[in-house]
């Protein structure tokens, strides 16, 4: 309900902004509208962008509520909002390619957050106690470290909850890495809450944990989970899209592969490039290190902070991160305004 309201609001707002755009002239930077997506990391990024563009570059920034599909559609069709700070591009890959080819949209930043995406994770204790476990291939040979409570002789690999898209990918990778033969059980945690619960129980209790998760999330930040290198390269999109993500019967011969890369971009409109070109440089340099982002998400969850509160907290705490994104001049201006 809330989401659909927000979506409707986003469309309405973006249309209004789009209409008013034509009538109002632009100064050096002028008016900029930024999409504030309805999840925590995107809220933070939108608010940080707003503060930096306003205080550092003298833009007039408006935040517009959004969600992946409606915001992208509106940017593509109406040219507004101007900036989508965190756009998960896998779902809109084709139209985005077309729009960039036509010059309507510009991918200003190919990876605004590092260390992002889905994959297999270890609890910090596991990494500390077993420095030799460098990749998934090493971990797979040590099921004894992760005893399954229902059968202590087997290792427990916590997969993806029943019915999620990642369930098939995890099950197929489980087969591809021949984990059953090596003494593993694929545990279905049932729900997202079950998955979170199993992770927090293991880490709180100082136990080993090996399973599927994704980042940026407050869970990863809160428990300082370690993303595991798969030890094999991504084995091509034919293997991934044609087999790994399909049901078991449609994927007879899965090849071991690293997890497919989640494309997250900062996308801006052609108008933004034209009118706020000074800010474009900032947008292209703006890369959040994954652990900083996760840390901010933990802060937001713990303090129940809004995106705005979190943005100010980020700018105050992580000067060494964001000062590199802008010129020293601009950095000074922003600092003095905090």
């Amino acid at each position: 309900m809330k989401r659909s309201f927000r979506t409707a609001f986003a469309i309405a707002a973006t249309v209004t902004v789009g209409l008013s755009w034509a009538t109002i002239g632009n100064a050096a930077c002028g008016k900029v509208s930024i999409a504030e997506m309805n999840w925590a990391s995107a809220e933070l990024m939108a608010n940080v962008d707003k503060i930096i563009l306003e205080k550092g570059y003298g833009c007039e920034v408006e935040l517009v509520a959004g969600a992946t599909m409606p915001t992208f559609t509106s940017m593509n069709e109406k040219g507004a909002p101007d900036v989508a700070p965190e756009l998960w591009a896998n779902g809109v890959a084709e139209p985005l390619k077309k729009a960039t080819a036509e010059g309507k949209l510009i991918v200003a930043n190919k990876a605004p957050i590092t260390g992002l995406g889905e994959g297999w994770w270890l609890s910090p204790k596991t990494v500390k106690d077993n420095p030799k476990l460098k990749t998934a291939l090493d971990v797979i040979n040590r099921p004894d470290l992760f005893p399954h409570p229902e059968d202590k002789s087997k290792g427990a690999f916590i997969g993806c909850p029943a019915g999620w898209a990642c369930q098939l990918a995890n099950a197929n990778l489980f087969r591809a890495f021949e984990m059953e033969k090596k003494g593993w059980v694929l545990v279905d945690p049932g729900t997202g809450a079950g998955l979170d619960g199993s992770m927090s129980k293991a880490v709180d209790r100082g136990q080993n944990w090996f399973g599927y998760y994704w980042s940026p999330t407050s869970m990863i930040g809160k428990y300082k989970m370690h993303k595991l290198d798969f030890g094999v390269p991504f084995a091509g999109s034919k293997n991934w899209d044609g087999c790994i993500v399909k049901a078991e019967k449609d994927c007879v011969n899965p090849k071991p592969s690293a997890w497919t890369k989640s494309e997250v971009n900062t996308v801006v409109t052609a108008n933004f490039k034209k009118n706020a070109s000074v800010a474009l440089d900032f947008v292209s340099k703006r890369v959040y290190p994954g652990d900083v982002m996760n840390g901010m998400l933990v802060y937001m969850a713990d303090q129940q902070a809004s995106g705005k509160d979190a943005a100010y907290a980020f700018l105050e705490k992580h000067g060494n991160v964001w000062e590199k994104w802008v010129s020293p001049d601009v950095a000074k201006k922003i600092k003095s305004s905090l």
Partner: protein, 295 residues
């Protein structure tokens, strides 16, 4: 007049600290006692695993024959036997055999656990009004509290899997057998008890020779309801990683697989109906003497 229109609520930061202190207190509790609690439940877990393996690894014809024998022993009714046979053949034919066996195993164990805790509690309640005033509100909480609220602490203590699932099932399913045992014993005619007294029966003789047999129909209604509610919790238990018919239902729910959801849901229903009919008939047969008295 602000306080009149706006409820004077606790300050936001104070409320946050309050919530946090509860969270941290529970985490500390889990850190210091979690291991011990887990070890306490270890034998139960081993039994559950063994029981499930027994069901899954036994060849299906033997299981079906066993179930039919039990159904015959319980109900002595040919239609129920035929219904049971067909339902299990269909379940197997539609590829739900293994999940059904997992579900059957956990439901049987949780029913046994619920009865063995529930009936003594009910007897204690019937015996003492003070126990009753303490236990009834607890039962109210157990029946109405949203299951995920107690699943969070249970998962934090015991992780995901069979034991937390079993506890979740029992919290929800135990109240009927407790309530109806209590009620059944309390409803036994005072005149009958007086007669027992006048024959010089002691407490235990009265309990097992008079009260329990007379309360049996009510107690059996309670057991029956407990089994039904345990089956209703199969899907909730799967939400914390219990294998069985609940997982495909969850998969169906998040992907709108109509047929998958319907088939596994109906398999749960079929189990419920068989359990229900057999226990009801068994309950009826155990009070056959009543009809004889009436005749």
């Amino acid at each position: 007049m602000d306080w009149f229109f706006q409820f004077p609520e606790m300050e936001r930061s104070g409320l946050r600290d309050f919530k946090k202190s509860i969270d941290f207190a529970f985490r500390d509790f889990s850190r210091s006692y979690g291991e011990g609690i887990e070890n306490f439940f270890e034998p139960l877990l081993m039994f559950l695993v063994w029981f499930e393996k027994l069901f899954i690894n036994t060849p299906w014809p033997i299981i079906i024959v066993g179930i039919l024998l039990l159904a015959w022993f319980g109900s002595r009714s040919i239609p129920i036997l035929i219904g049971t046979l067909f339902s299990f053949l269909l379940i197997g034919y539609f590829g739900m055999w293994e999940d059904t066996m997992s579900t059957l195993a956990i439901i049987l164990v949780s029913t046994i656990l619920c009865i063995s805790i529930g009936i003594p509690t009910g007897i204690a309640m019937a015996r003492s009004d003070r126990v009753q005033t303490i236990v009834i509100p607890i039962l109210d909480v157990m029946q109405t509290i949203p299951s995920f609220v107690y699943l969070i602490p249970v998962v934090m203590l015991l992780g995901i899997g069979k034991v937390p699932g079993l506890i979740a099932v029992c919290i929800y399913a135990i109240p009927p057998v407790v309530r109806l045992t209590n009620l059944g014993i309390r409803l036994v005619d005072k005149a009958v008890l007086e007669a027992a007294d006048s024959f010089g029966a002691n407490y235990w003789q009265k309990l097992f020779g008079v009260q329990m047999p007379l309360a049996l129909p009510t107690i059996f209604a309670g057991i029956n309801q407990t089994i039904m509610m345990a089956l209703a919790m199969v899907v909730i238990a799967s939400m914390i990683g219990v294998k069985g018919l609940g997982l495909p239902v969850l998969r169906a729910v998040s992907n709108q697989y109509l047929a998958l959801g319907l088939m596994n849901g109906l398999a749960i229903v079929v189990l419920a109906i068989i359990f229900d009919r057999v226990t009801q008939k068994f309950g009826l047969r155990m009070q056959k003497y009543r009809k004889e008295i009436k005749d």
